[in-house]
């Protein structure tokens, strides 16, 4: 209960602070739009308990997003990036079974962005949350032969995931990066981001037992940003 009160109070403070700042800022009201693409690294977080030979391993994927940023001040902006994440991870059971899990997610991170530095090169840190949904997925399964038990095991089998696997996806996200301005209207952005999943990527059971699995994501993206597209305030 104390935690919840602190979270609510903190959030109210942050929002009121942002609006108080933006009212008096001459540089506020700049909207920029762009494209981000890059590498994604998915680390599944599962407590395997006694099952020591159930091994969940990370895998590489890709991310593509359309960042939208609204500058309240030259040092502060709100940032959102609707995008597609292609997440891969691996799973192995003992010596006889391996699986690669592929999933597509539509996610929208919404972050507060704090920038610093000069006019041509600026650093920034972002923090916020994300929400989205699982779109599609498939699993490449490989069962190895076990003499006397699983004879003549076939190679890989692809299982398409169906609607029952649809799930809400949400969590916290933070990042840092550099923004290089080639001129006043175009900039390049290099960013590292960390996603901390708070919703299980595995169906939870309703009976009180939890078999939760979470995703920790890291992304490194390169993007282009078109600035001052819709400047809503003049200096």
């Amino acid at each position: 209960m104390v935690k919840r009160i602190l979270i609510i109070l903190g959030t109210v403070f942050l929002v009121s602070e942002v609006f108080a700042q933006s009212r008096n800022d001459a540089a506020a009201g700049v909207l920029s739009l762009g494209v981000n693409a890059g590498w994604l690294y998915d680390t599944p977080v599962v407590n395997t308990q006694y099952a020591y030979n159930r091994v969940y391993s990370p895998g590489s994927g890709a991310v593509l997003g359309v960042p939208v940023q609204y500058d309240f001040k030259d040092w502060f902006a709100l940032f959102a990036e609707p995008g597609i994440q292609y997440r891969n991870s691996r799973y192995r059971l003992a010596h006889w079974y391996s699986e690669t899990r592929h999933n597509l997610y539509l996610d929208i991170p919404v972050m507060a962005s704090f920038s610093f530095g000069g006019k041509s090169v600026r650093g920034f840190v972002n923090a916020g949350g994300y929400a989205g949904a699982w779109l599609a997925g498939w699993q490449d399964k490989h069962t190895d032969e076990i003499t006397g038990v699983l004879e003549s095991a076939e190679g890989t089998f692809r299982k398409e995931m169906t609607g029952e696997d649809c799930r809400f996806d949400a969590g916290l996200v933070a990042g840092a990066g550099l923004r290089l301005f080639s001129d006043k209207n175009i900039s390049c952005v290099l960013e590292y981001r960390f996603y901390y999943g708070l919703t299980s990527s595995r169906t939870m059971h309703s009976s009180g037992f939890s078999y939760a699995a979470y995703d920790n994501l890291q992304t490194v993206t390169l993007g282009i940003r078109f600035n001052n597209l819709f400047k809503t305030k003049s200096k």
Binding site: K3, L6, I7, G10, T11, F13, L14, E17, Q21, V45, V46, N47, T48, Q49, Y50, A51, N53, R54, W75, Y91, L93, A94, W96, Y97, E99, A112, A127, G129, K141, H142, T143, I146, V149, L150, E151, S152, A153, E154, G155, T156, F157, L172, A174, Y196, L198, S200, R202, T203, H205, S206, S207, G208, F209, S210, Y211, A212, Y214
Partner: protein, 434 residues
């Protein structure tokens, strides 16, 4: 923004993020090992509810039939957990947690809807110990209107030879007895009926001895002799009899199937669990039967009649299932038990499915201090799925094309075998029509 204000702003953000992250992920230790890892004392402490949770979760994670079984396993949890918690409360008040009758009725209600006919659960009351209760969903067969007990070797052979003696059956038969891995006598009968119908009976596929005088080798030689002596150009048909056969080692499918196919075929595939989710299955493993160079193809004119009954189980019904993929197959008898899942003993840490708990409880009636834990659960490690239709026949069994119920009065008195006579009649009628 001044420095003080910036620091305050950053501190609040970090606090909110830290609080959110610490409060939302749930990685508690909910997956417990249902296998024997705890002392008897801990089981007593865990009580009725603890025992129920262990078995419920062991089945939840390791049961291979969730893809087909319609039992609402979550409802089982929410319905019965309060029942066992009440029992624990009574124990705390110095009373007996559950009477024998209540304990038995409750567990029977929990387990009997499950479709795994290989499942056997044995357990004892945590506060009392003593009597071990045994539960098996396959006991639903007792409710069948056509149910009959298994016939004995003596009844079977007496019936066979009495029919030969009084000329109801024109046959020459040979019998061999072999030891099964359970220490019982298994036996095979081969012969020729009417001079042109090959007949083979196998009472068990659990034929295995590790020594040099292998029962398996003896049984295989017996089958090879039968094939060599009876499969000639005059053959009118063959009868493979797996009635009363409760199964055994899987390699018998390849051994028997290889003589009747000209190219490899897949009668079914096996589905094994791969992860904790109910629907997490590994890649299907095909059961491939490969031909032997000296194979003999059967046909509608020269059929292979598989004779099976309601006591044919596991490999005893999977072998007729395999032959149903081959030309000339005709099934005669009674619908089989429907226990076609595969068993793999003592491999819980390899598959995280199949059997868990102290397996020795399954053959005991009384719990002792030397037992490792208060329960055992034995269940299928993989599911058998029809490779053509994707249907899992567990609980349904092999359905004969021509149903012939056993005349138990004749068989149990050693005076006749109407199912065998019907199979012979089918082939004779076919021959007469040609």
């Amino acid at each position: 923004m001044n420095m003080k204000r910036s620091a305050c702003f950053g501190a609040v953000i970090i606090t909110v993020v830290a609080l959110l992250s610490s409060s939302c992920r749930k990685l508690e230790h909910d997956i417990t090992n249902p296998d024997c890892t705890e002392s008897i004392l801990q089981f007593v402490d865990n009580g009725y509810a603890g025992q129920f949770k262990k078995i419920w979760q062991g089945i939840d994670v390791g049961y291979v039939f969730w893809n087909w079984d319609t039992t609402d396993w979550d409802a089982v949890y929410t319905t019965y957990l309060p029942v066992f918690e009440s029992a624990d409360a009574r124990v705390c008040n110095g009373q007996v947690g559950m009477s024998e009758e209540e304990y038995e009725t409750t567990w029977k209600s929990i387990l009997s809807p499950l479709m795994d006919n290989h499942m056997n659960v044995s357990l004892t009351r945590p506060d009392i110990g003593g009597k071990i209760f045994h539960f098996a969903p396959s006991k639903r067969r007792l409710q069948r209107s056509d149910y009959h007990r298994r016939f004995t070797k003596k009844e079977h052979l007496s019936s066979l030879y009495s029919m030969i003696d009084d000329h109801r059956l024109d046959a020459v038969m040979d019998t061999v007895t072999v030891k099964t891995s359970q220490g019982n006598d298994g036996y095979l009968v081969n012969g020729i009926i009417n001079g042109n119908i090959a007949y083979l009976y196998i009472s068990s596929f659990m034929i295995y001895t590790p020594d040099s005088s292998s029962a398996d080798t003896i049984a295989r030689s017996f089958v090879l002799n039968w094939l060599g002596n009876t499969f000639n150009e005059n053959l009118a048909g063959a009868i493979l009899d797996t009635r009363n056969n409760t199964g055994g080692l899987g390699h018998w499918q390849q051994f028997l199937g290889q003589f009747f196919c000209e190219e490899e075929f897949i009668p079914y595939y096996k589905m094994v669990k791969s992860d904790v989710g109910r629907y997490d299955y590994a890649a299907p493993v095909n059961q491939v039967i490969k031909p032997n160079a000296g194979h003999r193809l059967m046909s509608d004119d020269c059929p292979l009649v598989c004779l099976f009954d309601l006591n044919s189980a596991s490999n005893g019904e999977e072998i007729p299932w395999m032959f149903s993929y081959l030309p000339g197959y005709v099934g005669i008898g009674e619908r089989t038990l429907g226990a076609m899942g595969g068993l793999v003993d003592n491999q819980y840490s390899t598959f995280y499915s199949g059997s868990f708990g102290d397996q020795s409880l399954g053959s005991k009636d009384t719990f002792t201090s030397s037992d490792k834990c208060s329960y055992s659960c034995s269940m299928s490690t993989f599911a058998h799925v029809d490779s053509k239709t994707g249907i899992c026949p567990e609980g349904t069994g092999m359905i004969p094309q021509i149903e012939v119920l056993l005349d138990t009065t004749a068989m149990f008195s050693g005076n006749g075998d109407n199912q065998l006579l019907e199979a012979v009649k089918y082939i004779k009628n076919l021959k007469n029509r040609q």
